[in-house]
Symmetry: C2
Subunit: 337 residues, 2 copies
């Protein structure tokens, strides 16, 4: 399979372990700061925050900030605050996203809105966003504030864009890429650029990490889209079909729709627009995607973005941190093949 | 009536006109900036933003920022951006508030959530908040960012506090004051403090405007609470009863509940906790408030905060702008008596 060949060619470890190891002590401080900044006399706030923190994800974004700061030899403390701010921005987005998408589950746990309601999810999201900005202000870096406040706007714009394009099967691939650039890649990019910013590096280093982040973000989201239909795996994982049941128009759907017959397209309209999304329909959808190479080609796109991300870091000195950041690219893509 | 006497004693104009006149040319620039910063290629964003802008309120908060900057002779441009940022923060809060309260009407117009849905309201609120921070960053003032990002957290905290205390008739007056301090007074305070901050004034001037803002905010909110039950007027305005029908626990309700008989308290529980809020019940509620002096005393509290706001500015030189800010206090309180 093309994808696997491409990865073998790189001969990389496809592991997130080096990043985890290199950022372990910094991440311990980030996790402490997360709990402390999610504190409030208003009981509901730490309650929800703690739930989100323990439900936890990989914390990929804050690790990007930490590694990108250390790779330039940064020895101060501000990267801890910026890293935590990035994670809070991400968590706030998830809280609001779940309200907007009316999601019931995330990462195998019930969403906050199911437990505490939409109201608390909106407000606690606002609180976390406010805390994120306070931490950025604390660092005194106007450049960091500039990049992260811009990302905050772009993310919201991307969400509105996605809302406006919801269930529209005529969305072009370019339009879809614009959505994931804003929704996902913008924060990856900002997270990575925090490193050279706080380390006081120049425009070239900032551009390199920014480009690494944005392209990694594209790759990450496209792989996620493919994973939701089982990726290329023969046996499907547990969370397969969430996007399908929510009627989300992602790249695998768009490709299968565009490449399909009139009969196929009628099926997609029923599934996405009218919510005809039984398990049987999901099986049929995956079959159509395989027939039209929709999953393989979504992954191809991801691999291609990953290569751009790799080249973005090429001019920088080879350090352990740079190596770990490169491994993340392969790790993201390897999840799916 | 005590309230009217108190105002006559001051012999003030009780008009917002001086503030409107003094900030007119600056406000024209703020209104231009509002429209430009609410722009986006994502059509839904300027659409909703324009609706909110034309529905408009008094724009009291941005005028506070402008007047407080000019009263210290500020001659730059940054107050325009900070003033717009304050208004965007306020608008974002209203958008999210309406979602949280499930409100259908605001200022006599349908709320954005009724027209465009909760989803768009959450996301466009996020966008406006992001734009607010970008404008603050543009001014390069870390002090302004510090105050406004803290206000942003405090406001969200206040909203969560209010949510947690919703429909709880055992809320104490202190607890209620803590809610409105966070929900309303914090932004008034931050808006006013932007003036001395951007004009480069010292701690004393900042403290004076901060104190003016917070106490004006208390007065403003308490008057608003009283107005929702017709204030002291014999003939009731059009929007009377909104808080009652939404089961909001405000100070007039708390006072009438605490001072009432067991029979009265049973009535309040039915009205607030069980939503028994017919027009007849509203009439009865207003009758109970009058009997127990709940409206008069809510206004008394407001007048008292207004006097603290007035004294906060006392040490500062008498200028036209200071006079206009003092008139606003009387204007806020005069609305109700």
């Amino acid at each position: 399979m093309a994808v696997v060949v491409s990865m073998d060619r790189k001969g990389k470890s496809a592991s997130i372990q080096p990043l985890l190891d290199l950022t372990a002590s910094d991440m311990a401080r980030v996790n402490e700061l997360i709990l402390s900044k999610a504190g409030s006399d208003v009981r509901l706030i730490p309650e929800i925050a703690r739930y989100l923190v323990t439900a936890g994800g990989k914390r990929l974004r804050p690790m990007l900030t930490l590694a990108a700061a250390r790779m330039f030899g940064y020895a101060g403390d501000a990267h801890i605050k910026l890293s935590t701010a990035v994670e809070f921005m991400h968590t706030a987005t998830l809280l609001h996203d779940d309200v907007v998408d009316e999601s019931g589950m995330r990462r195998g746990s019930r969403t906050a809105r199911v437990i505490w309601g939409n109201q608390a999810s909106v407000l606690v999201g606002d609180f976390l966003l406010g805390q994120a900005f306070r931490m950025m202000v604390d660092t005194g870096s106007l450049a960091a504030l500039d990049v992260l406040s811009t990302a905050s706007c772009v993310i919201a714009e991307g969400e509105v864009m996605q809302l406006a394009a919801a269930k529209n099967l005529e969305t072009t691939e370019d339009e879809y890429l614009a959505v994931i650039k804003a929704k996902t890649a913008a924060l990856f990019s900002a997270a990575a650029e925090m490193g050279p910013i706080i380390a006081g590096m120049g425009a070239a280093e900032r551009a390199a990490l920014r480009s690494y982040g944005i392209n990694l973000g594209y790759a990450f989201q496209l792989v996620d889209d493919a994973l939701d239909y089982g990726g290329n795996a023969k046996d499907l994982g547990k969370n397969v079909g969430d996007d399908f049941r929510e009627g989300k128009v992602t790249l695998p759907v768009l490709l299968a729709y565009r490449r399909g017959t009139d009969v196929d397209r009628a099926f997609w309209r029923g599934a996405i627009e009218k919510g005809e999304s039984s398990d049987e329909a999901l099986g049929h959808a995956i079959g159509l995607m395989r027939r039209h190479g929709a999953l393989t080609d979504t992954i191809r796109r991801a691999v291609s973005y990953g290569e751009v991300a790799r080249d973005a870091l090429a001019p920088l000195p080879d350090t352990a941190h740079k190596g770990a950041l490169l491994d993340v690219i392969d790790y993201c893509v390897a999840r799916v093949s």
